[in-house]
Assembly symmetry: C2
Homo-oligomer: 311 residues x 2
Protein backbone atom coordinates (compact mmCIF):
# COMPACT_ATOMS: atom_id res chain seq x y z
CA UNK A 1 0.00 0.00 0.00
CA UNK A 2 2.89 2.33 0.73
CA UNK A 3 3.75 2.85 -2.92
CA UNK A 4 0.35 4.20 -3.97
CA UNK A 5 0.72 7.20 -6.26
CA UNK A 6 -0.75 10.51 -5.07
CA UNK A 7 -2.23 11.14 -8.50
CA UNK A 8 -3.04 9.03 -11.53
CA UNK A 9 -3.07 10.25 -15.13
CA UNK A 10 -5.96 8.68 -17.03
CA UNK A 11 -5.84 8.34 -20.81
CA UNK A 12 -9.32 7.70 -22.17
CA UNK A 13 -9.35 5.19 -25.05
CA UNK A 14 -13.10 4.88 -25.64
CA UNK A 15 -13.45 7.19 -28.66
CA UNK A 16 -10.57 5.47 -30.42
CA UNK A 17 -10.22 1.88 -29.24
CA UNK A 18 -13.87 1.65 -28.25
CA UNK A 19 -15.54 3.02 -31.38
CA UNK A 20 -12.96 1.29 -33.56
CA UNK A 21 -14.26 -2.10 -32.46
CA UNK A 22 -17.86 -1.24 -33.37
CA UNK A 23 -19.12 -2.51 -36.71
CA UNK A 24 -21.76 0.06 -37.64
CA UNK A 25 -21.16 3.59 -38.88
CA UNK A 26 -21.47 5.83 -35.87
CA UNK A 27 -22.19 9.45 -36.87
CA UNK A 28 -19.23 11.80 -36.48
CA UNK A 29 -21.39 14.17 -34.43
CA UNK A 30 -22.03 11.41 -31.87
CA UNK A 31 -18.35 10.69 -31.54
CA UNK A 32 -17.67 14.37 -30.98
CA UNK A 33 -20.43 14.51 -28.38
CA UNK A 34 -18.81 11.71 -26.38
CA UNK A 35 -15.33 13.24 -26.58
CA UNK A 36 -16.71 16.57 -25.37
CA UNK A 37 -18.58 14.88 -22.50
CA UNK A 38 -15.40 13.08 -21.47
CA UNK A 39 -13.43 16.32 -21.60
CA UNK A 40 -16.11 18.05 -19.50
CA UNK A 41 -15.76 15.35 -16.83
CA UNK A 42 -12.12 16.29 -16.36
CA UNK A 43 -10.40 13.44 -18.20
CA UNK A 44 -6.96 14.94 -18.90
CA UNK A 45 -6.16 13.04 -22.10
CA UNK A 46 -8.41 11.46 -24.72
CA UNK A 47 -7.38 9.21 -27.58
CA UNK A 48 -9.83 10.56 -30.15
CA UNK A 49 -9.22 8.64 -33.36
CA UNK A 50 -6.76 6.53 -35.29
CA UNK A 51 -5.35 7.13 -38.74
CA UNK A 52 -5.31 3.62 -40.10
CA UNK A 53 -6.61 1.84 -43.15
CA UNK A 54 -10.36 2.38 -43.48
CA UNK A 55 -10.51 -1.25 -44.58
CA UNK A 56 -9.08 -2.47 -41.27
CA UNK A 57 -11.02 0.03 -39.16
CA UNK A 58 -13.91 1.53 -41.15
CA UNK A 59 -15.15 3.31 -38.06
CA UNK A 60 -12.09 5.58 -38.12
CA UNK A 61 -12.56 6.92 -41.65
CA UNK A 62 -13.89 10.20 -40.23
CA UNK A 63 -10.86 10.91 -38.04
CA UNK A 64 -10.21 14.26 -39.72
CA UNK A 65 -13.87 15.25 -39.47
CA UNK A 66 -13.80 14.54 -35.74
CA UNK A 67 -10.76 16.74 -35.43
CA UNK A 68 -12.39 19.52 -37.42
CA UNK A 69 -15.69 19.45 -35.54
CA UNK A 70 -14.41 19.16 -32.01
CA UNK A 71 -14.56 22.08 -29.59
CA UNK A 72 -11.28 21.69 -27.72
CA UNK A 73 -10.58 22.71 -24.14
CA UNK A 74 -7.17 24.05 -23.16
CA UNK A 75 -6.79 21.69 -20.22
CA UNK A 76 -7.33 18.47 -22.17
CA UNK A 77 -4.94 16.64 -24.48
CA UNK A 78 -6.76 15.33 -27.56
CA UNK A 79 -4.53 12.62 -28.96
CA UNK A 80 -4.65 10.21 -31.86
CA UNK A 81 -2.97 7.03 -33.10
CA UNK A 82 -1.45 5.55 -36.25
CA UNK A 83 0.55 2.49 -37.20
CA UNK A 84 2.71 3.64 -40.12
CA UNK A 85 4.15 6.60 -42.01
CA UNK A 86 1.05 7.17 -44.07
CA UNK A 87 -1.08 7.31 -40.94
CA UNK A 88 1.30 9.76 -39.33
CA UNK A 89 1.10 12.11 -42.32
CA UNK A 90 -2.68 11.98 -42.17
CA UNK A 91 -2.59 12.65 -38.44
CA UNK A 92 -0.53 15.76 -39.15
CA UNK A 93 -3.48 17.17 -41.05
CA UNK A 94 -5.54 17.04 -37.87
CA UNK A 95 -5.75 19.32 -34.84
CA UNK A 96 -4.94 16.38 -32.56
CA UNK A 97 -1.92 16.07 -30.31
CA UNK A 98 0.56 13.69 -31.94
CA UNK A 99 2.30 11.54 -29.33
CA UNK A 100 5.50 10.04 -30.69
CA UNK A 101 4.33 6.44 -30.56
CA UNK A 102 6.88 3.65 -30.68
CA UNK A 103 5.20 0.28 -30.55
CA UNK A 104 5.89 -3.40 -30.73
CA UNK A 105 4.59 -6.69 -29.49
CA UNK A 106 5.91 -9.19 -26.99
CA UNK A 107 4.15 -11.90 -28.98
CA UNK A 108 5.55 -12.31 -32.48
CA UNK A 109 2.42 -14.14 -33.62
CA UNK A 110 0.20 -11.32 -32.45
CA UNK A 111 2.48 -8.83 -34.23
CA UNK A 112 2.16 -10.82 -37.40
CA UNK A 113 -1.67 -10.87 -37.20
CA UNK A 114 -2.18 -7.33 -35.91
CA UNK A 115 0.55 -5.43 -37.77
CA UNK A 116 1.50 -7.94 -40.48
CA UNK A 117 5.17 -7.52 -39.72
CA UNK A 118 8.03 -9.67 -38.46
CA UNK A 119 9.75 -8.44 -35.28
CA UNK A 120 12.64 -7.16 -37.45
CA UNK A 121 10.28 -5.28 -39.77
CA UNK A 122 8.55 -3.81 -36.74
CA UNK A 123 11.83 -2.49 -35.35
CA UNK A 124 12.76 -1.01 -38.75
CA UNK A 125 9.38 0.65 -39.09
CA UNK A 126 9.54 2.09 -35.59
CA UNK A 127 13.03 3.42 -36.18
CA UNK A 128 11.87 5.19 -39.33
CA UNK A 129 8.82 6.55 -37.57
CA UNK A 130 10.87 7.76 -34.63
CA UNK A 131 13.18 9.65 -36.98
CA UNK A 132 10.17 11.06 -38.79
CA UNK A 133 8.75 12.36 -35.50
CA UNK A 134 12.00 14.16 -34.73
CA UNK A 135 12.18 15.57 -38.25
CA UNK A 136 8.76 17.02 -37.54
CA UNK A 137 9.76 18.50 -34.22
CA UNK A 138 8.10 15.89 -32.01
CA UNK A 139 10.12 14.95 -28.95
CA UNK A 140 9.80 12.04 -26.56
CA UNK A 141 6.73 9.83 -26.63
CA UNK A 142 5.44 6.61 -25.15
CA UNK A 143 6.61 3.11 -25.95
CA UNK A 144 3.76 0.61 -26.29
CA UNK A 145 4.49 -3.07 -25.77
CA UNK A 146 1.43 -5.04 -26.91
CA UNK A 147 0.57 -8.50 -25.51
CA UNK A 148 3.13 -7.84 -22.80
CA UNK A 149 1.70 -10.55 -20.54
CA UNK A 150 0.68 -13.11 -23.12
CA UNK A 151 -1.49 -13.70 -26.16
CA UNK A 152 -4.06 -16.24 -27.25
CA UNK A 153 -1.72 -17.65 -29.86
CA UNK A 154 1.42 -18.12 -27.79
CA UNK A 155 0.00 -18.32 -24.28
CA UNK A 156 1.96 -16.69 -21.48
CA UNK A 157 4.87 -14.59 -22.66
CA UNK A 158 8.00 -15.01 -20.58
CA UNK A 159 9.26 -11.88 -18.86
CA UNK A 160 12.59 -12.29 -20.69
CA UNK A 161 10.82 -12.23 -24.07
CA UNK A 162 8.73 -9.20 -23.14
CA UNK A 163 11.87 -7.44 -21.90
CA UNK A 164 13.71 -8.25 -25.14
CA UNK A 165 11.00 -6.65 -27.25
CA UNK A 166 10.68 -3.71 -24.86
CA UNK A 167 14.41 -3.11 -24.94
CA UNK A 168 14.39 -2.95 -28.75
CA UNK A 169 11.76 -0.21 -28.58
CA UNK A 170 13.47 1.68 -25.77
CA UNK A 171 16.76 1.51 -27.71
CA UNK A 172 15.12 3.08 -30.78
CA UNK A 173 14.03 6.03 -28.65
CA UNK A 174 17.31 6.37 -26.80
CA UNK A 175 19.47 6.11 -29.91
CA UNK A 176 17.38 8.89 -31.42
CA UNK A 177 18.07 11.12 -28.42
CA UNK A 178 14.42 11.04 -27.41
CA UNK A 179 14.09 8.63 -24.46
CA UNK A 180 10.58 7.25 -23.89
CA UNK A 181 8.16 9.42 -21.92
CA UNK A 182 6.65 6.20 -20.58
CA UNK A 183 6.74 2.46 -21.20
CA UNK A 184 3.27 1.03 -21.63
CA UNK A 185 2.76 -2.60 -20.76
CA UNK A 186 -0.37 -3.56 -22.68
CA UNK A 187 -2.50 -6.51 -21.69
CA UNK A 188 -3.99 -6.58 -25.16
CA UNK A 189 -5.93 -9.82 -24.77
CA UNK A 190 -6.49 -10.09 -21.03
CA UNK A 191 -3.66 -12.46 -20.20
CA UNK A 192 -2.48 -10.63 -17.11
CA UNK A 193 -3.05 -11.26 -13.44
CA UNK A 194 -1.71 -9.40 -10.41
CA UNK A 195 1.32 -11.68 -10.18
CA UNK A 196 2.31 -11.15 -13.81
CA UNK A 197 1.70 -7.41 -13.50
CA UNK A 198 4.02 -7.19 -10.52
CA UNK A 199 6.66 -9.34 -12.14
CA UNK A 200 6.85 -7.36 -15.37
CA UNK A 201 6.48 -3.92 -13.82
CA UNK A 202 9.32 -4.83 -11.46
CA UNK A 203 11.49 -6.04 -14.34
CA UNK A 204 10.92 -2.86 -16.35
CA UNK A 205 11.54 -0.65 -13.33
CA UNK A 206 14.72 -2.48 -12.43
CA UNK A 207 16.03 -2.18 -15.97
CA UNK A 208 14.91 1.42 -16.56
CA UNK A 209 14.37 3.13 -13.22
CA UNK A 210 14.39 6.48 -15.00
CA UNK A 211 11.31 5.81 -17.13
CA UNK A 212 7.65 5.87 -16.16
CA UNK A 213 5.80 2.56 -16.38
CA UNK A 214 2.19 2.73 -17.60
CA UNK A 215 -0.53 0.11 -17.93
CA UNK A 216 -3.04 -0.53 -20.69
CA UNK A 217 -5.34 -3.23 -19.32
CA UNK A 218 -8.15 -5.19 -20.92
CA UNK A 219 -10.82 -6.92 -18.90
CA UNK A 220 -11.17 -9.96 -21.14
CA UNK A 221 -11.18 -12.46 -18.30
CA UNK A 222 -12.54 -10.40 -15.43
CA UNK A 223 -9.25 -9.62 -13.69
CA UNK A 224 -8.76 -6.13 -15.15
CA UNK A 225 -9.50 -4.10 -12.05
CA UNK A 226 -7.48 -6.45 -9.83
CA UNK A 227 -4.57 -5.96 -12.23
CA UNK A 228 -5.04 -2.20 -12.03
CA UNK A 229 -4.98 -2.39 -8.26
CA UNK A 230 -1.75 -4.37 -8.39
CA UNK A 231 -0.36 -1.58 -10.59
CA UNK A 232 -1.53 1.17 -8.26
CA UNK A 233 0.08 -0.56 -5.31
CA UNK A 234 3.37 -0.55 -7.19
CA UNK A 235 2.97 3.18 -7.76
CA UNK A 236 1.94 2.99 -11.42
CA UNK A 237 0.42 6.38 -12.13
CA UNK A 238 -0.57 6.27 -15.79
CA UNK A 239 -3.37 4.09 -17.14
CA UNK A 240 -5.24 3.73 -20.42
CA UNK A 241 -8.87 2.83 -19.95
CA UNK A 242 -12.15 3.18 -21.72
CA UNK A 243 -15.46 4.69 -20.66
CA UNK A 244 -18.10 2.06 -19.96
CA UNK A 245 -15.50 -0.61 -20.73
CA UNK A 246 -15.91 -0.09 -24.48
CA UNK A 247 -13.55 -1.76 -26.87
CA UNK A 248 -11.95 -4.99 -27.83
CA UNK A 249 -9.39 -6.12 -30.31
CA UNK A 250 -10.19 -7.67 -33.68
CA UNK A 251 -6.88 -9.55 -33.70
CA UNK A 252 -7.04 -11.06 -30.25
CA UNK A 253 -7.97 -14.48 -31.65
CA UNK A 254 -11.11 -14.40 -29.58
CA UNK A 255 -14.53 -13.11 -30.54
CA UNK A 256 -15.35 -12.24 -26.96
CA UNK A 257 -12.18 -10.18 -26.38
CA UNK A 258 -13.43 -7.55 -24.00
CA UNK A 259 -12.63 -3.87 -23.86
CA UNK A 260 -10.34 -1.91 -21.64
CA UNK A 261 -11.01 -1.60 -17.94
CA UNK A 262 -13.87 0.87 -17.47
CA UNK A 263 -12.55 4.37 -16.83
CA UNK A 264 -15.21 5.18 -14.27
CA UNK A 265 -14.44 2.03 -12.27
CA UNK A 266 -10.73 2.80 -12.17
CA UNK A 267 -11.54 6.37 -11.12
CA UNK A 268 -13.79 5.07 -8.33
CA UNK A 269 -11.05 2.69 -7.20
CA UNK A 270 -8.59 5.60 -7.15
CA UNK A 271 -11.02 7.81 -5.20
CA UNK A 272 -11.60 5.11 -2.63
CA UNK A 273 -7.85 4.61 -2.25
CA UNK A 274 -7.23 8.32 -1.81
CA UNK A 275 -5.61 8.82 -5.21
CA UNK A 276 -6.43 11.95 -7.20
CA UNK A 277 -7.47 11.81 -10.85
CA UNK A 278 -8.91 15.29 -11.34
CA UNK A 279 -12.04 13.68 -12.77
CA UNK A 280 -15.65 14.34 -11.73
CA UNK A 281 -16.91 10.78 -11.34
CA UNK A 282 -20.60 11.65 -11.62
CA UNK A 283 -19.99 13.40 -14.95
CA UNK A 284 -17.84 10.53 -16.16
CA UNK A 285 -20.66 8.09 -15.36
CA UNK A 286 -22.99 10.27 -17.43
CA UNK A 287 -20.49 9.99 -20.28
CA UNK A 288 -20.57 6.18 -19.96
CA UNK A 289 -24.37 6.23 -20.21
CA UNK A 290 -23.99 8.42 -23.29
CA UNK A 291 -21.45 6.01 -24.80
CA UNK A 292 -23.81 3.07 -24.34
CA UNK A 293 -26.57 5.01 -26.06
CA UNK A 294 -24.28 5.82 -28.97
CA UNK A 295 -23.10 2.26 -29.61
CA UNK A 296 -26.64 1.00 -29.13
CA UNK A 297 -25.83 -2.11 -27.14
CA UNK A 298 -24.95 -3.00 -23.59
CA UNK A 299 -21.43 -2.04 -22.54
CA UNK A 300 -19.61 -4.21 -19.99
CA UNK A 301 -19.10 -1.56 -17.30
CA UNK A 302 -21.08 -2.07 -14.09
CA UNK A 303 -20.71 1.11 -12.11
CA UNK A 304 -22.42 3.29 -14.70
CA UNK A 305 -25.44 0.98 -14.61
CA UNK A 306 -25.61 0.81 -10.82
CA UNK A 307 -24.85 4.45 -10.24
CA UNK A 308 -22.69 6.11 -7.67
CA UNK A 309 -22.80 4.97 -4.10
CA UNK A 310 -24.12 7.58 -1.69
CA UNK A 311 -20.91 8.02 0.21
CA UNK B 1 1.46 -10.91 -0.53
CA UNK B 2 2.94 -12.86 2.37
CA UNK B 3 -0.44 -13.60 3.96
CA UNK B 4 -1.91 -15.39 0.95
CA UNK B 5 -3.76 -18.52 1.99
CA UNK B 6 -2.50 -21.85 0.63
CA UNK B 7 -6.04 -22.95 -0.11
CA UNK B 8 -9.39 -21.22 -0.53
CA UNK B 9 -12.78 -22.77 0.23
CA UNK B 10 -15.31 -21.70 -2.38
CA UNK B 11 -19.02 -21.68 -1.59
CA UNK B 12 -21.05 -21.57 -4.79
CA UNK B 13 -24.13 -19.35 -4.51
CA UNK B 14 -25.43 -19.49 -8.08
CA UNK B 15 -28.18 -22.10 -7.65
CA UNK B 16 -29.59 -20.24 -4.65
CA UNK B 17 -28.77 -16.55 -4.87
CA UNK B 18 -28.48 -16.63 -8.65
CA UNK B 19 -31.68 -18.44 -9.56
CA UNK B 20 -33.52 -16.64 -6.78
CA UNK B 21 -33.06 -13.33 -8.55
CA UNK B 22 -34.52 -14.67 -11.82
CA UNK B 23 -38.13 -13.86 -12.55
CA UNK B 24 -39.24 -16.77 -14.73
CA UNK B 25 -39.96 -20.31 -13.60
CA UNK B 26 -36.82 -22.30 -14.26
CA UNK B 27 -37.53 -26.04 -14.45
CA UNK B 28 -36.35 -28.00 -11.43
CA UNK B 29 -34.47 -30.39 -13.70
CA UNK B 30 -32.40 -27.50 -15.06
CA UNK B 31 -31.48 -26.36 -11.57
CA UNK B 32 -30.42 -29.88 -10.69
CA UNK B 33 -28.36 -30.09 -13.86
CA UNK B 34 -26.42 -26.95 -12.91
CA UNK B 35 -25.83 -28.11 -9.33
CA UNK B 36 -24.52 -31.44 -10.61
CA UNK B 37 -22.25 -29.71 -13.14
CA UNK B 38 -20.86 -27.49 -10.38
CA UNK B 39 -20.27 -30.49 -8.15
CA UNK B 40 -18.53 -32.31 -11.01
CA UNK B 41 -16.14 -29.35 -11.41
CA UNK B 42 -14.94 -29.83 -7.85
CA UNK B 43 -16.73 -26.99 -6.07
CA UNK B 44 -16.64 -28.18 -2.45
CA UNK B 45 -19.84 -26.49 -1.24
CA UNK B 46 -22.97 -25.41 -3.09
CA UNK B 47 -25.83 -23.34 -1.75
CA UNK B 48 -28.64 -25.19 -3.54
CA UNK B 49 -31.87 -23.50 -2.50
CA UNK B 50 -33.56 -21.33 0.08
CA UNK B 51 -36.61 -22.10 2.16
CA UNK B 52 -38.33 -18.73 2.14
CA UNK B 53 -41.76 -17.41 1.29
CA UNK B 54 -42.67 -18.36 -2.29
CA UNK B 55 -44.18 -14.89 -2.54
CA UNK B 56 -40.83 -13.22 -1.88
CA UNK B 57 -38.82 -15.72 -3.95
CA UNK B 58 -41.11 -17.71 -6.26
CA UNK B 59 -38.11 -19.32 -7.89
CA UNK B 60 -37.38 -21.22 -4.68
CA UNK B 61 -40.78 -22.94 -4.37
CA UNK B 62 -39.26 -26.19 -5.64
CA UNK B 63 -36.50 -26.36 -3.03
CA UNK B 64 -37.66 -29.77 -1.77
CA UNK B 65 -37.96 -31.11 -5.32
CA UNK B 66 -34.37 -30.06 -6.01
CA UNK B 67 -33.27 -31.87 -2.89
CA UNK B 68 -35.21 -35.00 -3.87
CA UNK B 69 -33.98 -35.09 -7.45
CA UNK B 70 -30.33 -34.36 -6.89
CA UNK B 71 -27.67 -37.04 -7.23
CA UNK B 72 -25.31 -36.13 -4.41
CA UNK B 73 -21.57 -36.75 -4.31
CA UNK B 74 -19.86 -37.59 -1.04
CA UNK B 75 -17.17 -34.96 -1.42
CA UNK B 76 -19.52 -31.99 -1.87
CA UNK B 77 -21.56 -30.14 0.73
CA UNK B 78 -25.03 -29.33 -0.60
CA UNK B 79 -26.30 -26.52 1.62
CA UNK B 80 -29.43 -24.42 1.82
CA UNK B 81 -30.67 -21.22 3.41
CA UNK B 82 -33.67 -19.88 5.37
CA UNK B 83 -34.60 -16.72 7.23
CA UNK B 84 -36.94 -17.88 9.98
CA UNK B 85 -38.18 -20.83 12.03
CA UNK B 86 -40.69 -21.91 9.42
CA UNK B 87 -38.00 -22.00 6.76
CA UNK B 88 -35.72 -24.02 9.01
CA UNK B 89 -38.43 -26.65 9.59
CA UNK B 90 -38.97 -26.92 5.84
CA UNK B 91 -35.22 -27.24 5.29
CA UNK B 92 -35.22 -30.15 7.73
CA UNK B 93 -37.46 -32.04 5.31
CA UNK B 94 -34.71 -31.85 2.70
CA UNK B 95 -31.52 -33.83 2.14
CA UNK B 96 -29.48 -30.63 2.23
CA UNK B 97 -26.79 -29.78 4.71
CA UNK B 98 -28.21 -27.30 7.25
CA UNK B 99 -25.58 -24.76 8.27
CA UNK B 100 -26.50 -23.04 11.51
CA UNK B 101 -26.99 -19.60 10.03
CA UNK B 102 -26.95 -16.57 12.29
CA UNK B 103 -27.48 -13.40 10.33
CA UNK B 104 -27.94 -9.70 10.72
CA UNK B 105 -27.32 -6.47 8.91
CA UNK B 106 -24.91 -3.62 9.50
CA UNK B 107 -27.47 -1.31 7.91
CA UNK B 108 -30.69 -1.08 9.91
CA UNK B 109 -32.55 0.29 6.90
CA UNK B 110 -31.52 -2.63 4.74
CA UNK B 111 -32.58 -5.01 7.53
CA UNK B 112 -35.97 -3.37 7.64
CA UNK B 113 -36.45 -3.72 3.86
CA UNK B 114 -34.90 -7.16 3.44
CA UNK B 115 -36.03 -8.91 6.62
CA UNK B 116 -38.80 -6.57 7.84
CA UNK B 117 -37.36 -6.50 11.31
CA UNK B 118 -35.83 -3.96 13.69
CA UNK B 119 -32.29 -4.72 14.88
CA UNK B 120 -33.75 -5.87 18.23
CA UNK B 121 -36.22 -8.19 16.52
CA UNK B 122 -33.41 -9.56 14.40
CA UNK B 123 -31.32 -10.39 17.46
CA UNK B 124 -34.33 -12.05 19.15
CA UNK B 125 -35.08 -14.11 16.05
CA UNK B 126 -31.46 -15.18 15.67
CA UNK B 127 -31.27 -16.18 19.33
CA UNK B 128 -34.38 -18.34 18.95
CA UNK B 129 -33.03 -19.86 15.75
CA UNK B 130 -29.67 -20.58 17.31
CA UNK B 131 -31.37 -22.40 20.20
CA UNK B 132 -33.50 -24.30 17.72
CA UNK B 133 -30.39 -25.42 15.83
CA UNK B 134 -28.85 -26.77 19.02
CA UNK B 135 -32.11 -28.49 19.98
CA UNK B 136 -31.86 -30.23 16.63
CA UNK B 137 -28.28 -31.28 17.11
CA UNK B 138 -26.70 -28.67 14.85
CA UNK B 139 -23.45 -27.23 16.16
CA UNK B 140 -21.49 -24.16 15.14
CA UNK B 141 -22.34 -22.33 11.94
CA UNK B 142 -21.46 -19.15 10.12
CA UNK B 143 -22.43 -15.62 11.10
CA UNK B 144 -23.53 -13.50 8.14
CA UNK B 145 -23.29 -9.74 8.41
CA UNK B 146 -25.18 -8.23 5.47
CA UNK B 147 -24.33 -4.75 4.07
CA UNK B 148 -21.15 -4.87 6.12
CA UNK B 149 -19.49 -2.14 4.04
CA UNK B 150 -22.47 0.05 3.31
CA UNK B 151 -25.90 0.13 1.71
CA UNK B 152 -27.70 2.25 -0.84
CA UNK B 153 -30.01 3.67 1.82
CA UNK B 154 -27.49 4.67 4.46
CA UNK B 155 -24.32 5.03 2.40
CA UNK B 156 -21.06 3.87 3.91
CA UNK B 157 -21.47 1.98 7.18
CA UNK B 158 -18.91 2.95 9.83
CA UNK B 159 -16.66 0.14 11.00
CA UNK B 160 -17.92 0.75 14.57
CA UNK B 161 -21.51 0.18 13.49
CA UNK B 162 -20.64 -2.96 11.54
CA UNK B 163 -18.68 -4.25 14.53
CA UNK B 164 -21.61 -3.52 16.87
CA UNK B 165 -23.99 -5.61 14.76
CA UNK B 166 -21.39 -8.32 14.26
CA UNK B 167 -20.74 -8.53 17.99
CA UNK B 168 -24.45 -9.04 18.70
CA UNK B 169 -24.45 -12.01 16.31
CA UNK B 170 -21.20 -13.45 17.63
CA UNK B 171 -22.53 -13.11 21.20
CA UNK B 172 -25.66 -15.11 20.31
CA UNK B 173 -23.44 -17.96 19.11
CA UNK B 174 -21.02 -17.77 22.03
CA UNK B 175 -23.72 -17.58 24.70
CA UNK B 176 -25.25 -20.69 23.19
CA UNK B 177 -21.94 -22.55 23.48
CA UNK B 178 -21.61 -22.75 19.71
CA UNK B 179 -19.05 -20.15 18.64
CA UNK B 180 -19.28 -19.11 14.96
CA UNK B 181 -17.52 -21.34 12.43
CA UNK B 182 -16.82 -18.19 10.40
CA UNK B 183 -17.82 -14.53 10.27
CA UNK B 184 -19.02 -13.55 6.82
CA UNK B 185 -18.65 -9.92 5.83
CA UNK B 186 -21.19 -9.49 3.05
CA UNK B 187 -20.93 -6.71 0.52
CA UNK B 188 -24.59 -7.12 -0.31
CA UNK B 189 -24.91 -4.08 -2.56
CA UNK B 190 -21.37 -3.53 -3.83
CA UNK B 191 -20.33 -0.80 -1.43
CA UNK B 192 -16.90 -2.22 -0.70
CA UNK B 193 -13.48 -1.32 -2.00
CA UNK B 194 -10.07 -2.74 -1.10
CA UNK B 195 -9.56 -0.13 1.62
CA UNK B 196 -12.88 -0.88 3.31
CA UNK B 197 -12.27 -4.62 3.01
CA UNK B 198 -8.91 -4.31 4.73
CA UNK B 199 -10.26 -2.04 7.43
CA UNK B 200 -13.19 -4.26 8.39
CA UNK B 201 -11.35 -7.58 8.05
CA UNK B 202 -8.64 -6.14 10.31
CA UNK B 203 -11.21 -4.97 12.86
CA UNK B 204 -12.94 -8.37 12.96
CA UNK B 205 -9.63 -10.21 13.22
CA UNK B 206 -8.39 -7.97 15.99
CA UNK B 207 -11.58 -8.45 17.95
CA UNK B 208 -11.97 -12.19 17.29
CA UNK B 209 -8.59 -13.65 16.31
CA UNK B 210 -9.98 -17.13 16.99
CA UNK B 211 -12.68 -16.98 14.29
CA UNK B 212 -12.36 -17.37 10.53
CA UNK B 213 -13.27 -14.30 8.46
CA UNK B 214 -15.09 -14.97 5.17
CA UNK B 215 -16.18 -12.70 2.33
CA UNK B 216 -19.39 -12.61 0.32
CA UNK B 217 -18.76 -10.04 -2.41
CA UNK B 218 -21.03 -8.56 -5.04
CA UNK B 219 -19.71 -6.95 -8.19
CA UNK B 220 -22.30 -4.19 -8.37
CA UNK B 221 -19.79 -1.46 -9.16
CA UNK B 222 -17.01 -3.39 -10.83
CA UNK B 223 -14.65 -3.64 -7.87
CA UNK B 224 -15.61 -7.17 -6.80
CA UNK B 225 -12.48 -8.98 -7.93
CA UNK B 226 -10.21 -6.23 -6.57
CA UNK B 227 -11.98 -6.62 -3.23
CA UNK B 228 -11.47 -10.37 -3.39
CA UNK B 229 -7.79 -9.83 -4.07
CA UNK B 230 -7.56 -7.54 -1.04
CA UNK B 231 -9.15 -10.33 0.98
CA UNK B 232 -6.78 -12.98 -0.37
CA UNK B 233 -3.81 -10.82 0.49
CA UNK B 234 -5.05 -10.65 4.07
CA UNK B 235 -5.26 -14.42 4.11
CA UNK B 236 -9.05 -14.70 3.79
CA UNK B 237 -9.65 -18.29 2.72
CA UNK B 238 -13.42 -18.61 2.44
CA UNK B 239 -15.47 -16.88 -0.24
CA UNK B 240 -19.04 -17.02 -1.50
CA UNK B 241 -19.33 -16.50 -5.21
CA UNK B 242 -21.61 -17.36 -8.03
CA UNK B 243 -21.00 -19.12 -11.33
CA UNK B 244 -21.07 -16.73 -14.29
CA UNK B 245 -21.65 -13.86 -11.84
CA UNK B 246 -25.34 -14.78 -11.49
CA UNK B 247 -27.44 -13.08 -8.89
CA UNK B 248 -28.44 -9.77 -7.45
CA UNK B 249 -30.52 -8.59 -4.57
CA UNK B 250 -34.12 -7.45 -4.87
CA UNK B 251 -33.78 -5.23 -1.81
CA UNK B 252 -30.59 -3.42 -2.72
CA UNK B 253 -32.49 -0.27 -3.69
CA UNK B 254 -31.03 -0.50 -7.13
CA UNK B 255 -32.40 -2.28 -10.16
CA UNK B 256 -28.95 -2.89 -11.55
CA UNK B 257 -27.59 -4.53 -8.40
CA UNK B 258 -25.24 -7.08 -9.84
CA UNK B 259 -24.55 -10.61 -8.73
CA UNK B 260 -21.75 -12.11 -6.74
CA UNK B 261 -18.24 -12.16 -8.07
CA UNK B 262 -18.01 -14.86 -10.74
CA UNK B 263 -16.77 -18.14 -9.24
CA UNK B 264 -14.64 -18.99 -12.26
CA UNK B 265 -12.90 -15.60 -12.17
CA UNK B 266 -12.06 -15.95 -8.48
CA UNK B 267 -10.79 -19.47 -9.15
CA UNK B 268 -8.60 -18.19 -11.99
CA UNK B 269 -7.27 -15.43 -9.74
CA UNK B 270 -6.48 -18.03 -7.07
CA UNK B 271 -4.75 -20.31 -9.61
CA UNK B 272 -2.65 -17.45 -10.91
CA UNK B 273 -1.66 -16.51 -7.37
CA UNK B 274 -0.70 -20.08 -6.51
CA UNK B 275 -3.70 -20.72 -4.25
CA UNK B 276 -5.44 -24.09 -4.40
CA UNK B 277 -9.21 -24.40 -4.74
CA UNK B 278 -9.55 -28.05 -5.74
CA UNK B 279 -11.68 -26.92 -8.68
CA UNK B 280 -11.23 -27.87 -12.35
CA UNK B 281 -11.46 -24.44 -13.98
CA UNK B 282 -12.31 -25.73 -17.46
CA UNK B 283 -15.26 -27.69 -16.08
CA UNK B 284 -16.38 -24.74 -14.00
CA UNK B 285 -16.37 -22.56 -17.12
CA UNK B 286 -18.57 -25.16 -18.82
CA UNK B 287 -20.94 -24.86 -15.85
CA UNK B 288 -21.06 -21.09 -16.34
CA UNK B 289 -21.97 -21.56 -20.00
CA UNK B 290 -24.69 -23.97 -18.86
CA UNK B 291 -25.97 -21.44 -16.29
CA UNK B 292 -26.26 -18.75 -18.95
CA UNK B 293 -28.21 -21.13 -21.16
CA UNK B 294 -30.58 -21.94 -18.30
CA UNK B 295 -31.38 -18.34 -17.34
CA UNK B 296 -31.66 -17.45 -21.02
CA UNK B 297 -29.93 -14.09 -20.88
CA UNK B 298 -26.39 -12.78 -20.75
CA UNK B 299 -24.63 -13.25 -17.42
CA UNK B 300 -22.05 -10.68 -16.32
CA UNK B 301 -19.04 -13.00 -16.09
CA UNK B 302 -16.31 -12.42 -18.67
CA UNK B 303 -13.97 -15.37 -18.40
CA UNK B 304 -16.57 -17.94 -19.39
CA UNK B 305 -17.26 -15.96 -22.56
CA UNK B 306 -13.60 -15.47 -23.45
CA UNK B 307 -12.52 -18.95 -22.48
CA UNK B 308 -9.41 -20.11 -20.73
CA UNK B 309 -6.09 -18.67 -21.60
CA UNK B 310 -3.68 -21.17 -23.12
CA UNK B 311 -1.24 -21.11 -20.24
Amino acid sequence: MSDLPARVHIVEEGPREGFQSEPAGIPTAEKIKLIEALAASGVPEIDCASFVSPKAAPQMADALDISAGLTMRDDVLYSCMWLNEKGFFQAQQSRFNLPALTSGSASDTFLSKNNRRTPEEQVDTQRLLRKLYSDNGIGSGPVYLFTAFGCNYEGEIAVEKAMLRASELVAICEENGTPPSSIYLCDTVGAADPVRVRRLVDAVRTRWPEYQVALHLHDTRGLGIANAMAGLELGVSRFDCSVGGMGGCPFAGNKAAAGNIATEELVMLCERMGIETGIDLAKLIDAAVLAEGIVGHSLPGKLFKSGLFNS
